[in-house]
């Protein structure tokens, strides 16, 4: 019955090829039709690599299925899958996504020797004492004094920031950057934030107000929606 209707439609655009896969047919059928379609096509030698976007509609593909499709495409031909585009995400994926982009409010004092870790943005209402440490994959906001160590963007997010009501840290860490307190006895400062300055290639400390133009998309969720 599906013979009349094609399961796979291929369109050429400026950016390469777009593969529309019908989301009502079984994965096996799709795979066999894909191999049929590809066998018709004989690539010329020295053909440049063609990027392919696969549009899945309302179909969910497991990692294994994605791998099968990309093997089909790249085995004989110079196709490279750029992205899979699907209207659905897996529940677990969505939950981690949500968790990573949620802001967690914690009310406690992180004391010497204690380590507090969180996936996502962290708002700590309380102090980080000397010798204490907080680690978050997103931003770290502290309503209190930061005397210990704060690590933002621990999974490598260099856009993450650390903001504190009172800043006198032992160390600031953002992604893979580390900065430490100066050896002379420095006074702490109120209402400051630490962020990575790309030009200077290091962590700089600045007034909180600079965040409004240096990190416009401070909200983790928006940032991830935009950057994928």
């Amino acid at each position: 019955m599906l013979d009349s209707k094609q399961m796979i439609t291929i369109k050429g655009t400026k950016e390469g090829l777009t593969l529309f896969i019908d989301d009502h047919s079984s994965f096996e059928d799709v795979l066999s039709e894909l191999s049929d379609k590809l066998s018709e096509y004989r690539p010329k030698k020295d053909e440049p690599v063609v990027p392919v976007t696969v549009k899945l509609g309302d179909r969910y593909l497991s990692d294994d299925q994605k791998r099968q499709i990309s093997e089909q495409l790249s085995s004989k031909n110079s196709f490279v899958i750029q992205s899979f585009d699907s209207n659905v995400v897996h529940r677990d994926e969505a939950l981690t996504w949500k968790k990573e982009s949620d802001i967690k409010v914690v009310n406690r004092i992180v004391r010497s020797g204690q380590v507090f870790e969180y996936v996502g943005d962290l708002l700590l209402v309380g102090d980080i004492n000397p010798g204490g440490k907080v680690i978050a994959t997103g931003n770290v906001f502290i309503m209190g004094s930061l005397h210990g160590i704060a690590h933002a963007g621990s999974n490598g997010d260099r856009d993450a920031v650390i903001a504190a009501s009172f800043m006198k840290p032992n160390q600031l860490r953002i992604a893979d950057y580390i900065s430490r307190a100066p050896d002379y006895d420095a006074e702490g400062i109120y209402m400051e934030c630490g962020l990575i300055d790309e030009k200077e290639d290091k962590i700089v400390i600045d007034r909180l107000q600079v965040l409004s133009h240096k990190r416009k998309d401070i909200n983790g969720f928006e940032r991830r929606m935009l950057n994928g």
């Binding site: 004092i109 004391r111 010497s112 020797g113 204690q114 102090d127 004492n129 000397p130 010798g131 204490g132 004094s145 005397h147």
Partner: protein, 265 residues
């Protein structure tokens, strides 16, 4: 039913044992029934400071291993009938003390005594865990030094995991002139970092060392500032409201007059 208070600090040498001896003595002075427990196995000191070393026959490990009854191991103080000491063992293995054993001993002592003051060993290992096991309340001792405050902070963090009330803070060995010059952390700085309630401040005084060497707790002295400081802590434990001691040195009449006239002495 009595109350068990553990005296702890994390760092060594800040005055846990001296504080235990003096708070215990001060409470006994106010006619409370007090039992002191030394849990620093292998490095017992409390008996020396109390001047009771020569009376030890059995110790806490003997009680735990049931070589004697608890009552037999308790040493009655030479000054107060209602003050007793359960000494630590000097030779036994540390592993012979268990948390369950400690809890059993303390609950037995609570029947007969109003206050059980537990002297905790330095460090955060098993000895600390044992000392804290049976306690209802805790007192953290610190000196106005960064390292000591850091360790006190660690201890406060560890005590949060135990089922006891938030600890109270004693700041020991305060040297007024250094605090004034800013060479030492001042009291407000320490409280701000630790954010727990202060229950007492104690000045540094050579007399404390002298008294410890003589086996006579300094809290028994009449008018020394340190003695009053320890007695004030005891009064606060009993629920009295006592203002904090002023840090100023007591001035003689002549100095006051000179100060008034603006003459430098």
């Amino acid at each position: 039913m009595g109350e068990a208070i553990v005296i702890t600090s994390g760092k060594g040498g800040v005055g846990k044992t001296t504080t235990t001896a003096n708070i215990g003595t001060a409470l006994a002075l106010m006619e409370k029934k007090v039992c002191l427990i030394d849990t620093d196995i292998g490095l017992r000191n409390l008996d020396v400071i109390m001047g009771l070393e020569n009376r030890i026959i059995y110790d806490i490990v003997d009680v735990m291993e049931q070589r004697c009854k608890l009552k037999q191991a308790l040493i009655k103080d030479k000054r107060f009938d209602d003050l007793a000491l359960l000494p630590a063992a000097q030779t036994s293995e540390k592993t012979s003390i268990t948390m369950d054993g400690m809890m059993a001993i303390i609950s037995e002592l609570k029947q007969d005594y109003d206050y059980i003051i537990i002297d905790c060993p330095a460090g955060i290992e098993q000895g600390f865990q044992n000392a804290v096991a049976g306690a209802d309340k805790a007192m953290v001792i610190t000196t106005p030094e960064k390292s000591s405050v850091r360790d006190a902070d660690r201890i406060v963090g560890l005590l949060e995991n135990e089922s006891i009330d938030p600890p109270k803070l004693v700041i020991n060995r305060i040297r007024n002139h250094m605090m004034k010059n800013g060479d030492m952390m001042d009291i407000d700085d320490i409280i701000q970092i630790l954010s727990i309630d202060l229950i007492g401040i104690v000045m540094d005084d050579d007399e404390v060392i002298k008294a410890s060497n003589n086996g006579e707790p300094i809290a028994l002295e009449g008018n020394l500032k340190v003695s009053i400081a320890y007695r004030n802590i005891a009064r606060r434990i009993l629920g009295e409201t006592v203002p904090l001691q002023s840090l100023e040195e007591d001035k003689g009449m002549l100095k006051k007059v000179k100060h008034f006239l603006g003459i430098r002495s």
